[in-house]
């Protein structure tokens, strides 16, 4: 361990060489190398955590760059883990960096997590979050939770010293239709920077024993107002007696739902006459819409199902691709045999292609 390198933090009375030593032998697994994972890994690496594992199987895309700040324009299309490890290595050559080029699954979760002291959940979907929780409970590993929505963030440390878990505050996974998921909802670029850094801070506190760990406390951050709320919550005994993973944690992301990219759709529009259902509000529709589309706002869909021709494929669009998925769930529930296709990213993405 190079002492000068860490001298600005080892000189802190509450930290010292002892805490630095603990970091240097710690093994932390970060699930996800996206908006939260990038700052969390970057700071854990800089501060001297000995071993960092990264679980991710995604590639860099252009729309990641506004918040996933370690990736370069030239790396669009490259695996995130590869690209991130390159930078972490030159920043701190002492860290043992372990690439896990996979998503977390029921097959690999226990084996992967068992190799680490602590898990930092930087994933972007509910199935993974519930899987991380259950695997950490089974293996008795603390995990630092962080999650985002628009301008907001949530942080807590779960399963720390037999403390409460994710299921003690959110007992069951929400249904596909109720909450935006799968990286579909937007987020202001800097919010993951704040939340991911707060996760790195809590990870360091758990490993070194300094300060007061955010266990049994759920932090709510609102960036628009910079309001911070800390909610106290208690352990629900049944949640820490899990002994096996569930068979499946999947939901709509994995459910095969036909979709086309906005670009493919733009090309389709040129060549074919298609049935397009627009489920946005009347206001949004009047502002801009595609000619010959059927307009039924999502809120009125159930009472207007007769406006659609079920003998033909139905392309469904909204502003950003979330409500259109909900519309597809709704129609599928009533008419399971109909062919429905979601337009990814909706009008926003379509416009970005058109305006380029």
């Amino acid at each position: 361990m190079n002492l000068e390198r860490y001298s600005r933090q080892t000189q802190l009375k509450e930290f010292g060489l002892e805490a630095q030593e603990k970091l240097s032998v710690a093994k932390i697994l970060v699930i996800g190398a996206g908006g939260l994972g990038v700052p969390a890994l970057t700071y854990l690496n800089a501060m001297g955590v000995g071993t960092l594992g990264i679980v991710d199987n995604d590639v860099v895309s252009l729309s990641n760059l506004h918040r996933q700040v370690s990736y370069y324009e030239s790396e669009v299309g490259e695996p995130k883990v590869t690209s991130l490890i390159k930078k972490l290595k030159v920043q701190n050559s002492d860290t043992k960096l372990v690439a896990h080029h996979t998503f977390l699954t029921t097959e690999n979760a226990l084996e992967l997590i068992a190799q680490y002291d602590l898990v930092l959940d930087a994933s972007d979907n509910f199935p993974t979050r519930y899987l991380v929780n259950d695997a950490c409970v089974i293996l008795k590993r603390p995990f630092v939770y962080g999650a985002l929505h628009s301008f907001e963030g949530q942080v807590s440390v779960f399963n720390y010293q037999n403390g409460p878990t994710y299921r003690c505050i959110f007992p069951t996974m929400p249904n596909p239709a109720e909450i935006p998921n799968c990286d579909e909802n937007g987020v202001l670029g800097v919010v993951p920077g704040i939340i991911g850094s707060l996760q790195a801070l809590e990870a360091v506190k758990v490993i070194t024993g300094i300060g007061e760990v955010l266990s049994g406390k759920f932090l709510l951050f609102d960036g628009l107002s910079q309001n911070y709320q800390k909610i106290n919550f208690k352990k629900v005994a049944g949640n820490i007696t899990i002994t096996a993973l569930k068979d499946s944690y999947e939901f709509n992301c994995a459910v095969p739902q036909a979709s086309v990219s906005a670009q493919q759709f733009a090309e389709l529009l040129q060549s074919e006459k298609i049935q397009l259902l627009d489920v946005r509000t009347t206001e949004e529709y009047h502002h801009y819409h595609i000619a010959d589309s059927i307009h039924i706002p999502l809120s009125d869909l159930e009472s207007n199902l007769e406006k659609i021709d079920y003998s033909k494929t139905i392309y469904v669009i909204c502003q950003s691709g979330i409500r259109s998925q909900k519309a597809i769930h709704l129609i599928t529930a009533i008419k399971p045999e109909v062919r429905l296709v979601n337009i990814e990213g909706g009008i926003n993405k379509l416009k970005s292609y058109a305006l380029r």
Binding site: G32, G34, G35, L36, G37, A122, S123, D124, N125, F126, R129, G146, A147, L148, H149, S150, E152, Q154, I169, F170, P171, T172, M173, P174, N175, A177, E178, I179, P180, N181, C182, D183, N185, V187, P192, F218, L220, D222, L224, S225, Q229, K230, I231, N232, F233, K234
Partner: protein, 80 residues
């Protein structure tokens, strides 16, 4: 009776704070508050899972409410 809204709850109501009507009578428990919200904002009925905190403490459905309580509605969020 002021309610702070987070995540999708903020999107449903369209504001970060909401004053719960106390006429003819304010909701007396967390359960009653949930029922009021569902009546006023039907989209709440689709949320199967959200937490409620009263005065910064996680509150089950049986918890009693008072006019000056600070209430927060906390749906799960998944973004990363």
């Amino acid at each position: 009776m002021k309610v702070l809204l987070f995540g999708i709850a903020k999107d449903i109501i369209g504001a970060s704070e909401y004053e719960v009507p106390t006429q003819p009578k304010p909701p007396s428990t967390v359960k009653e508050l949930k029922d009021v919200l569902v009546v006023l904002f039907p989209e709440f009925s689709k949320l199967s899972s959200f937490a409620i905190a009263v005065n910064s403490e996680y509150a089950g459905e049986e918890v009693f409410l008072h006019l000056n309580d600070e209430i927060a509605i906390i749906p799960p969020v998944s973004g990363g």
